[in-house]
């Protein structure tokens, strides 16, 4: 019969850890990042919003480890607080995508027939839009605040999850334990919740992990283009935006935020791939 979901989770983490040091590194990096985000107010040496014009555009020094920007604000502090934004937006956007995608995929896979065809057409339609186009168009219409950003990123990236869940449900539908449960008279809702869904969560976890990285990248693009997190709230993307004009003289405004994004997204990618390998190995 089905294995309890928690036991599966444990086995999952164990196999991922042992067999893939890269994934473990990714996980470690993410834990550090999470700690930084949570402890930001205590870790940041300066107030990220504190304008200090006499100290503008200073190169990295013992006083300001990563230099200052055009308004004299300490870059390191802004980056530390920026991690909060990135993680917050990343997780919530992916949360939205996973919820919507799972519901759609579950319905499509379980119901089959007409509903399936319709839902999949919707997925195909959404997938036809190059994501940035739709994102920018919609965000320009609504205003670019954090909530809108999270919602819109989530609502333009659920399609992959939907397809994954649907594929898993389709293959699981015919397995013995499902047929047995149906024979015993389980209601469709119970079937979906207790039997189908937990077993389909593996690939969804992989997609979600990779998706957080993707969402962070998307947010950084939006912020760089000026339609994401608005200054003065620091986001890695809008720090890059502000640094663009000073590219020739203040390289530190471009190098460090980009590296933050790179390392973070890389960590999520490594972790996601590691989970995928761990799942495949089982």
């Amino acid at each position: 019969m089905t294995t309890a979901p928690s036991k599966k989770c444990q086995a999952l983490f164990k196999s991922a850890w042992h067999s893939n040091r890269l994934a473990a590194t990714g996980a470690a990096v993410l834990l550090v990042l999470a700690a930084v985000a949570v402890l930001a107010p205590w870790l940041a040496p300066y107030d990220p919003l504190a304008v200090n014009l006499p100290e503008a555009l200073l190169a990295p020094s013992p006083a300001h480890w990563l230099g200052t920007d055009q308004l004299g604000r300490d870059v390191l502090s802004r980056l530390i607080f920026g991690s909060r934004i990135s993680l917050l937006i990343g997780f919530i956007a992916v949360g939205v995508a996973v919820v919507v995608g799972t519901v759609v995929g579950l319905l499509a896979g379980y119901a089959g027939g007409r509903l399936d065809a319709i839902l999949m057409r919707v997925v195909d339609t959404m997938l036809a839009f190059p994501s940035i186009f739709l994102l920018l168009a919609v965000i320009a219409i609504l205003e670019p605040n954090i909530y809108n950003i999270m919602a819109v990123i989530g609502l333009t990236s659920w399609m992959g999850v939907a397809r994954l869940v649907r594929a898993e449900i389709l293959s699981l539908k015919e397995r013995e334990f499902v047929l047995a449960a149906r024979a015993l008279g389980a209601s469709p809702l119970r079937l979906m919740a207790r039997h189908l869904l937990p077993n389909a969560m593996g690939p969804v976890l992989v997609a979600a992990t990779l998706g957080v990285g993707g969402a962070i990248l998307t947010e950084s693009v939006l912020s760089y283009l000026g339609l994401g997190v608005q200054p003065p709230t620091p986001s890695w993307g809008n720090i890059l935006n502000e640094g663009r004009v000073a590219l020739g003289v203040a390289w530190w405004l471009t190098l460090s935020p980009g590296l933050c994004i790179l390392v973070t997204v890389l960590a999520f990618n490594l972790l996601g791939e590691g989970i995928r390998d761990g799942l495949a190995r089982r």
């Binding site: 057409r121 919707v122 195909d124 339609t125 959404m126 997938l127 036809a128 839009f129 190059p130 994501s131 940035i132 186009f133 739709l134 920018l136 168009a137 919609v138 320009a140 219409i141 990285g213 990248l217 950084s220 693009v221 760089y224 283009l225 000026g226 339609l227 993307g237 890059l240 663009r244 590219l247 020739g248 390289w251 471009t254 190098l255 935020p257 980009g258 994004i261 790179l262 997204v265 890389l266 990618n269 490594l270």
Partner: protein, 326 residues
């Protein structure tokens, strides 16, 4: 084969409708009326004038009628006029299209031409030094923001080394150049943007090339080819690559939306007057007509790209082209 084609086209119709529906709905979401642009600075515009305008534009009709009307115009490629300069949107698009297409096609070719040999070599010696190096580079290309890589390229190759220009399509004195020199000048300006796009695109494709090739090399017919005593090179290329290219074609087609999206960022960073830049400028200026036109066109292009990729695949794979077994 024709049956396949017809079925694919039939399947596109609901998606096309869906695209137009979503575009239309987003358009209607926008605050303000299209009439505002023409009338808002005209203090003499009376209520009647506004009503007449609305009637002219069909804005007094129920929504579904407006949709059908809009659909008809889109089918004729009529996207109305830009709010900013009043010129036809279609004109803007046609002006900018060649640039974007050129850049994307160039990048596509390069990505394909590099990713495939990369994937082959990596698959032949999995775990080797080459494989590991390329995996690292691929992961970085995958995880780094494209625009950041572009900025770095500008800072390093453009500003510091002065090898390439950092913005625009033409040098200042382009007017004075002969045709050939002007062409080379444009190419010189495009090297950095195409280079960065290629690097990012490679990150995506070479992983598939590698895993696709490894999958193929595991197949029985590779064993047969070796058992026939064929030299290894022939086994790898004629038998191995010949089969591995099939899924790669599909992936190329599927990566079209990402390329189009990438154009927005790249053209903005490099100040290149293409469709992506047009889109960005329009968004910032709240030029709704242009924005929605490009969103729709972008989606249509994506569909077209997918269709072409599918057709290429169907043609290349004898199992589809020649029909199923008896």
């Amino acid at each position: 084969m024709t049956g396949y084609l017809l079925r694919r086209l039939a399947g596109l119709v609901p998606v096309l409708l869906g695209i137009t529906l979503i575009s239309f709905s987003v358009m209607k979401l926008a605050p303000g009326e299209p009439t505002d642009a023409s009338l808002q600075f005209n203090p003499k515009a009376s209520l009647e004038a506004r009503e007449r305008m609305e009637k002219l534009l069909g804005l007094d009709q129920p929504l579904h009628r407006q949709y059908l009307r809009w659909l008809g115009r889109v089918a004729r490629m009529d996207f109305d006029r830009s709010f900013r300069d009043g010129r036809l949107v279609t004109e803007h698009v046609l002006e900018r299209l060649p640039v974007t297409v050129t850049i994307n096609v160039a990048a596509l070719f390069l990505v394909f031409g590099i990713a495939v040999p990369l994937g082959v070599f990596a698959a032949v010696r999995p775990g080797g030094a080459f494989d590991r190096l390329t995996t690292v580079l691929v992961f970085i290309g995958y995880s780094a923001p494209g625009f950041w890589l572009a900025l770095l390229a500008i800072a390093w190759f453009g500003v510091t080394l002065h090898w390439f220009p950092v913005s625009g399509l033409h040098s200042i004195d382009a007017e004075t150049m002969g045709l050939l020199r002007r062409g080379l000048d444009v190419a010189w300006h495009l090297i950095l943007p195409v280079g960065v796009m290629t690097f990012v695109g490679l990150a995506g494709l070479s992983r598939y090339a590698r895993s696709g090739m490894m999958e193929v090399l595991r197949q029985d017919y590779i064993r047969t080819a070796r058992a026939k005593g064929l030299p290894e090179r022939r086994v790898l290329f004629r038998h191995g690559l010949g089969n591995a290219l099939l899924p790669i074609i599909t992936i190329l087609g599927l990566s079209l939306p990402d390329l189009i999206a990438g154009s927005v960022v790249m053209e903005t960073v490099f100040s290149i007057p293409g469709m992506g830049r047009l889109f960005y400028d329009a968004v910032m200026a709240r030029d709704q007509n242009v924005v929605m036109a490009l969103v729709t066109i972008g989606a249509l292009l994506t569909l077209l790209g997918n269709l072409l990729a599918d057709l290429a695949y169907a043609y290349a794979d004898p199992r589809i082209r020649v029909g199923s077994a008896r």
